[in-house]
Amino acid sequence: MLLNQFLILGALLFSVGVYGVLARRNGVMVLMSIELMLNAVNINLVVFGVQHGVVSGQVFALFVIAVAAAEVGVGLAIVLLLYRNRTSIDVEDFDLMRG
C-alpha cells in the first residue's frame, strides 16, 4: 500500500468538504461539510502515526474527534438560535457584515 493512497483520499475529502462549506446554503449542511474536512485531517493523522510508528497520531485523532463533537454541539446550537430568530437557516440570508 502506498502512503499516498490515504493522503490523497484525505485531500479529496478535504476539498469536497471545502466545496460543501462554500456552496451549500443550509446551515446544517455547512456543519456537516466541516465534519468532512475534520475527518480528512483525521485520516492524515492516523496514517502518519502509522508511518512513523508513533502513537500520538491516534491520540490526536481522538482529540480531533472530541473537539469535532463539541464543535457540532455549539454549531447546531447556533443554527437553532439563528433559526429561532430569523426563521431561516439559509446562510445567504445572514449578511449583517455587508460593507
Partner: protein, 729 residues
Amino acid sequence: MWMLENAFLIPLVPAISFVVILFFGKRFIGANRVHIVGITALGLVWVLSAVAAFQWTQRVENPSPDAIVEMATHGGDHGDDHDADHGDDHDADLAVVSTDHSGGEHGGGHSSPLIGPVISTFSQWWSNGGIEFAVGTLVDGLTVLLLIVVASISLLVHIYSTEYVKDDRRYVHYYAFLSLFTAAMLFFVMAQNIVQLIVGWELVGVCSFVLIGHWWEEKPNTDAALKAFLTNRVGDIGLLVGMIVLWGTFQTFDIDAINTLISADPGAHHLALLVAACCLMAAVASKSGQFPLHTWLPDAMAGPTPVSALIHAATMVVAGVYMIARLYPVFYEGLSIGTSSINLMAFIGGFTALIGAGLAFAQWDIKKVLAYSTVSQLGYMVMALGVGAWTAAIFHLFTHAFFKACLFLGAGSVSHAAHHTFDMRKMGGLKKAMPHTYRTFVIASLALAGIFPFAGFWSKDEILLGSLVGQKNSYPLMLIFGCAVAFMTAAYMTRVIWYTFHGEFRGHGQPHESPKMMTVPLWILAGMAVLGGVFNLPGPVLEPFGLEGLAHRIQTYAEPSVYLSGLGISHPDPSLNMALVGLALAVSGILVTYLYYWRRIGLHGLTERNSYAKNGYTFLENKYYLDHLYNDVIVKTVKRPIANWANRVNQNVLDRAVDKAGETARDTGRWIYKWVDQGVIDGSVNAAARGADSSGEGLRVIQSGKVQNYGQLLFGSAAVLAIVFVIVV
C-alpha cells in the same frame, strides 16, 4: 586711537536710546519729553564721532608703525604735482613705499605711508563649517567721514523735529525709530564684513519703511512705505547674490581682506567680479534711487519731512554710494572702470542724474522736486564713482548731505508755515514772511546749483573733471550728461525758489516764520552749504593764501589709499577751464529760468522798446528770437514734453511695471493657487482618495457580508498562494 578701536560704542548709543525711548519713554520719561533722550544720545554720538575723526586725522598725520601697511605691489602715487599722464604706470610700479611718495603732502596725493584701517573684532558671531568670523568694526577715513555726516544731520534733524512733529500722535515712536535708524546707519558704515553690511543695509531699509509709514492711518502713506521696502528688496536680490559671489570667490566675508586681495592682484577673478559688481549695482540702484529703481524715492516723501531730510536725502540713500566706495576695488576691477570709457555704473549714474533733473521740472510738490533732485544728485555720485573719481564722489556725498538736508528742512519749514501743504501753487511770496527760511533755502539752492564759492561748486567741479580726464580714457558721454545736469539743476532750483518765495502768496491764512528750533538747524546746515567746500579745496586755490597744506583734506584723510593705490587710481589736476565751464552752465541755467519766469516783465519791456525805438529791431528780434527759443523750444520742450514724457514713462512704464509685476505676481499666485494647487496637486490627492474610494466600491462587492464569500476568498487565495508556493519551491 581708543575711539577708533572702540567705534562700536557709536552705534551702541543710539541703539540704547531706541530701547529706552520705545520701552520706557511713555512711562518714565513722558511722551512729550522723549526727544531729550534722543538729542542727548545724538549729541553724544556727534562728540564720539568727532573724537573718532580727530583720532583718524592723527593716525594719518603721525602714523604709528602698526598703522602703516606695506604692500609689495601697488600703484604709483598720483598726486597732483606729478605728471597728469598716469596711463599705464600703475601696472608695474614696484617702488618702495617711502621713496616715491614723500612729496605728496602739498599736492593732495595721499601721504606717503599707506594707512591701514583700524579693524577690531569682537565676539565671534558665526562659526559654521570651519569658517568663523566675528562681528567687528572697520574704521578708516571713509567711515569717519560718514560718521560725521550721519551724526551731524541726525542731530540737527532731531532738534528740528521737536517743533516739526510736536504733538504728533506717535511722538515716541517717531523718536525711537529716528534713533534706531541712526544706530543702523552707523552700524552699516563701520561694517567690518559684508554680512554686517547686509545687516545694516536691511536695517536702515526697515527704519525707512517704518518712518515713511509713520502716519499709517492713510493708505497712500502705507502704499509708499510698502513700495519703498519692496523696491529695496528687489535690489536686495542683487545684494545677496553679489555678496555671495564675492564670498564664493574669495572665501571670506572680510571687507578688508576682499579689498586687499583684489588690489594685490587686480587682474584675477575678473568674471566673478563683473558678476558681483553687476549684482551689487542692482542693490545700489534700489537703495540709492538709481534708474530704473528710483521710483520709490519720490513716493517716500509721504513720510514726515525731517525723515525725508535725514533718510531720503542725506544719509540712507547714500548707502548705495557708500557701498560702492567701500568695495570700490570690486567695482573698479569688475566693471573695468580704469580702462573703459563707458561702463554700467557710470552710465546708470549719468542717466539717472539726467532723468532725475528732467523730472524735477514737472513737479508741483516741493518735496518731490527735491526728491528728484536727490535722485539726480545720487546719480551724479554714482557717475563719479563710475568714472573713477572716488574722492569726488565722496566729496559730493559730503557736501550734498548738508545742502540737501537744508533744502528739505527748509521745505518742511515752508509747509509748516503754509498749513502743511507741499503744493507750490499754494505758496508764493513767502520771502517776506519767512526770511530765515528764504535765505537758507537760497544758499542751499546755490550750493546745489554749483555756484562759486558754495560747497556744491567744488564737489561738482571735481566730478566733471573726473569724467573729463577719466582714468585711461576719458568719459565723454558722462561729461555731457554731467554738464547738462549742472545746467538743469540750476534751472529747476530757480523755478522752485520763484514759485515758493516770490510772486504773490496763493495760499490762505497768514504765513509765519518757523520757531527757533527749526531755523537754527537751517542756519547751521546753510553754513555747511557755504563752507563745505573747504574740506577738499584744490591746491591752486589755496596757494595764494599759503595754505596748501590744507588742500584736499578729504582726499588725504578719507581715501582708502591702501586699497585704491593697488588699483592705480589717479587724481586729475585741477582745471580752471572746467571750473569755469561748470560755473557758466549753472549760471546760465539760473539765468534762463529767471528770464522765463520773469518774462512778463521782460516781454513788457520788449514791446515798449518795440513801439518806441525802431533802431534796435534786428537785435531785439534776435533777442525775441532767443526768448522764443528759450521759451518755446528749449524750456518748453524740456519742461513740457520731455519732462512730461519722462514723467509719463516714469509713471506709466516703470512705475506701472513695478505695479504690474506685483499684480502679475499676485495673479500668477492666484492662478497657480486656483489651478495648480487646488486643481492639480490637491486634485491629484483628492483623485487618489477617489481612486481609493472607487476601488473600495469595487471591493464592496466582495464585501457581501456573506460568510461563504469570505470563505471562497480565503480558500481561493490560500489555494493560489499554495500553487505559487509549489511552483516557486
